[in-house]
Structure formats: structure tokens, C-alpha cells
Amino acid sequence: MSVKYIPVQWNKNKWWYDGIMLFAVVCYLWVFIEITPHILNHESPINAQVHNARAFGSCAFLMLSVILTIGPLARLDNRFLPLLYNRRHFGVMTAFVALAHAGYILDWYFAFSKAGKYEALLFANTSYTQLLGFPFEAFGIFALLCLLILATTSHDFWMKFLTPPIWKALHYLIYAAYISVVAHVSFGILQDQQNQAFPILFVVVACAVVGLHLLAAISERKKAGEHEKSTDGWIEVCATSEMNEGYAKIAKLPKGDRVAVFLQDGKLSAISNACAHQNGPLGEGKILNCLVTCPWHGFQYDVTNGRSPAPFTETVPTYNLAVENDRVLVDPEANQPGTFVEPLVLSKPKGGS
């Protein structure tokens, strides 16, 4: 967390994260560009510009696929949560790799004519009314624009400036970009492939991305569905015996929001499940040093009032709680962010350590 904006708040884990990601990307490009031409051994080699464009393009597709699988993987298995921590840096790296791909294409296929290359990109193929021969470059342009917008606005400054809901909505563009990339490849290079290795790999990876999202959605639906019983308008969260000291139970509210009910020092408190930073699932976090800690980026909140500790200023809504017949109930109407709510003492704290 920070109270001022600096380009990157580096720490050891971020160095490792970026180092591993960069190493994988460099390995990919090195093998593709330097090693595979010798394996191919074509009598007339593929033009270096085309070869490089393919290297960077396929790398960007894989990077984007990895980025999109991290979210559902983390929802299905908590051990993947650390991969979310610095995902934005990998996203920025992807935008640069995609930009390099576009550069090679522009400087090769759209160069050498009397028209400017950007102009040529727009008028060379205008067969928009047919599937075969559709100007697949348009999908690539759209995807690249999305990636550049996402990379440009990835810094926390933009999240604060745009507000988290708008920033989050804007960053759903990643899905539009991915669909566009899939269309770009499907209407482009896949149309000419004789060797089926790449098409098969492409379909497997794209299906894995879609499949993991479906699995995660089904899993979350099951989890949330267990808590939808209501008593006099209040929502039943769980039995008091299910609460564990330092951890939360999450319940889905009628309006679609989620609430996280924590047990701290034998007392219950409830705050919004959505972190003010990037809507991270606070209920999947843990209380460290008396503060709820978000599992995504480590933002912290006082569970009794939803406020980040000074000098930080983030706040999340709090909720009123009650216990009836050993069942934990929550008022679905949220309090204003940062409102103190007296913790509810459990008669017999369960699972305390």
C-alpha cells in the first residue's frame, strides 16, 4: 500500500515475479527466432520479418492466455493467488510484445508501397462482407488498442483517478481483447495452415481459458448458493461453529454483493467482500496483526470499521450482524464505508487459536 504514487513499488517478490515472467518470454522468443529456423531447414527460409512477427504474435497470445487463466485458477485453488499479485506487470509486458508483433507486420506487409503503412493497413483489404478473406487485421488492431489502454491505465494512479468501479469495468476489456485475438488468429494465419500443430495448440489453449472460467464460475456459484437463506430479511451466513479465528465466511447478498464475516478475538465483524483496491475477495484473506489482509495485493482494513490503517485512506462498507439459534445473520443493507460497528461477541468462540 502506499500514500503516494511512484512508478513501481518494488519488493523482492515483485522482482522474482517479473524476472520469471521475463525469463519465460525471452526463452520463448530466443528459441523461436534463433533455434527453430535451423530445425525447419526450408530451402527458401521464411522471411525474417514474418518469422519474427509470428514469434512475437504467438508469444503475445500465450501471455494473454496465461494472464486470463490466473484468475480462475486462483478461485479454484488458493495456492495460485500469488500469481495474481503482479499480474499487471505481465499484462504490460504482453502489450509490448503485441506491439512488436504489429510493428513487424506493418513494416513488412504494409510497407514498400506508395501509400503510408498505416493508411495501407486500413484500405488494402476491405472485404468486410465475407468470412473467407475477412480483414482479420481489424481484430488485431482492436486487440492491440485494448492492450495498450489496459497497459496505460494499469497503474494505481488511474484506478484512484477513474475510481475502482470504472477502472474495473474498463479492465474487463481484457476479455474483448482476447476474443478479438482469437478471431484475429482464426481468420488469419489459421486459414493457411497445412501443419496442424499450431491450430491444435491454439484451440487447446483457448478452450482451457474458457473452460477454467466456466469451472471457476460454477465453483463460486456453489459456494455462494449455500448462504442465500434469509430470516426476516437478514441473510444467514453460517453456523457459529463454522467460524474460524482470523478467517471469514462469505455470503452473497440479494443485490449481488458479497459480505465477508470475520471472527477476531472471539468477536464477529462484517465488511464488504470487495477490496477497495481492485475488488479482491477480502473474505478469502486473513487477519494479520489485527487487520483483514486482502489475498490479492495485501491491502489491509480494520474489520470493525472497514478503514485502512493510517496513513492509508481506503475504506469499505461494514455490515450489522446478529446471532440467532447459533446461526450468524447479516443485515443485507450496508453501512457507509468506514462506519464503525460494535463487534458481536460469540458466547463460545469456535476454532480459536
Partner: protein
């Protein structure tokens, strides 16, 4: 949901011991996966065949009669060791530019052409040097040799730009290359129909419109597609010209 027995990762704190081996394994799989994918994708790219600029032949200079329809051609009357008399050479400028402007004043006249050859199998093309060094009037009188009509044909294949197809780009055909091909054709590069089966001994046919002029712009939409079409075929020297009936074009089955 996180359980109290599970290690909890916080980015700015040390990685919990219980997660280290898992993250190490995930990192190895990630790097290994990228390496494997790179090998698979990079090493299975299709072979575009033998083609390209033949700089190894050296500069080629030949004399012949210039013909403008459907695109600038040189009907060779005085060849060299590599280019025989009677050969018909397609002419092109540098980049994605044809040479109609330079060839027009020489229509039906003898001219000397000089440049570098592009070659794919039996298909070749001469990329002229700049200015008069590339194409200039030659002494002597000559007329355009007659063409031999070969009748109406129904063919399946692909319209490409002749220059990329001949090896200016590798690969230089297909739907992924369509925009580049269109840009070449817009610039005046001769289009070539690649027939799925050889016709009169050649699979490469210079494309013309039904009236013998340049290919109609409406056919740009068909470039790169596998299509069926009908057209009148004629032989000009050792080159086949296909005058396409634009109304007969459809996707090949």
C-alpha cells in the same frame, strides 16, 4: 476460501514456506511450457517452397518487345545464358509498384530491360533497376508477337500477386497474405492465378480481365481465396494468360 491450515501469501512479506515448493513448480512449468510451445509452433511452420530474388544470378539484361496488356511484359528477342529468346518476362518495379508508367512510351517497341530476377519454379519476373537503367528503348524494329488462343477453361486455384508469389515474400500467398497481395495489385504488380492442376504444362497463369486489360478491382475480394472460375486462355511466348470471366467466379468446393 482460505482455511487456517493453508499458507497465506502477502506480496510484501516473505513467501510462506508451505507455498515455496508449489510456486517453484508452477514457475518451472510456466517456463517449460513456454519453451515447449515455442519449439512446437516455431518448428512446425509450413514450407512456402523454393522461391526468392535470384541475386546469385547477378544482374540480368535482355532485349525484347514491350507489351502493356494486361500488364507490362517483355517478349524477349535477345536473351542471355539464363533468359532465352521467346521467353515472356513479367516486369515490376521496386517494392509494391508496377512499371506501367515507364513501359507505356515503349509499347510495341524494342527495349532493353535490366534488373534482378524473382523465381518460383517456372514462374519468374524481372524487377527493373531504377530509371532508364532499368528500361530503355533499344535500336531496331520489332512488333509484338502473336498470341495463340487455347480456348475456354474452367479452373480452380488462387489469385495471388505475382511478385510475392515469385518470392519477394516468403510466404507470399494465402488468406493471411491477402492485404499485402491487394496492396501489390493496387500498386500495379501483375496478378497470377495458381491453378490447382497444371494447365498446358504450367500452374502459373497471368491474370487479365475478360477484355484482355488489367484485372478488375472487384476481384480484389477474391484474392487469396481458393476459387473456381472460367476464362479464355491464350499463350504468349512461353507464358499463359487467363482472361477471367468475372461472372463465373465462385468458391471452390
Amino acid at each position: 476460501m482460505t482455511q487456517k491450515t493453508e499458507p497465506f501469501f502477502v506480496g510484501y512479506l516473505k513467501v510462506p514456506k508451505g507455498l515455496r515448493s508449489f510456486l517453484l513448480m508452477a514457475s518451472l512449468m510456466f517456463v517449460g511450457g513456454f519453451l515447449a510451445a515455442s519449439l512446437v509452433i516455431g518448428a512446425t511452420q509450413d514450407d512456402a517452397g523454393k522461391a526468392g530474388f535470384r541475386f546469385d544470378y547477378g544482374r540480368q539484361t535482355v532485349t525484347g518487345v514491350v507489351e502493356l496488356k494486361p500488364y507490362p511484359l517483355l517478349r524477349v528477342t535477345k536473351g542471355n545464358d539464363r533468359i532465352a529468346v521467346g521467353h515472356t518476362l513479367m516486369l515490376t518495379g521496386g517494392g509494391k509498384a508496377g512499371v506501367m508508367d515507364r513501359a507505356t512510351p515503349l509499347h510495341g517497341k524494342l527495349a532493353t530491360a535490366s534488373g534482378v530476377i524473382l523465381e518460383r519454379g517456372t514462374l519468374d519476373m524481372l524487377q527493373l533497376r531504377g530509371g532508364k537503367a532499368g528500361l530503355k528503348a533499344a535500336e531496331g524494329e520489332a512488333s509484338i508477337p502473336t498470341s495463340e488462343p487455347l480456348g475456354k477453361w474452367r479452373l480452380a486455384g488462387e489469385i495471388c500477386d505475382g511478385k510475392c508469389l515469385a518470392g519477394a515474400m516468403q510466404p507470399g500467398r494465402g488468406l493471411a497474405h491477402k492485404a499485402c497481395a491487394n496492396l501489390c495489385l493496387i500498386g500495379g504488380i501483375p496478378p497470377v492465378f495458381v491453378s490447382s492442376k497444371p494447365v498446358e504444362g504450367s500452374e502459373f497463369l497471368l491474370v487479365a480481365s475478360a477484355d484482355g486489360g488489367p484485372m478488375l478491382q472487384s476481384l480484389y475480394d477474391k484474392v487469396g481465396q481458393f476459387i473456381e472460375l472460367e476464362g479464355e486462355l491464350e499463350r504468349r511466348g512461353d507464358m499463359l494468360v487467363l482472361k477471367i470471366d468475372e461472372t463465373s467466379i465462385g468458391l471452390a468446393k
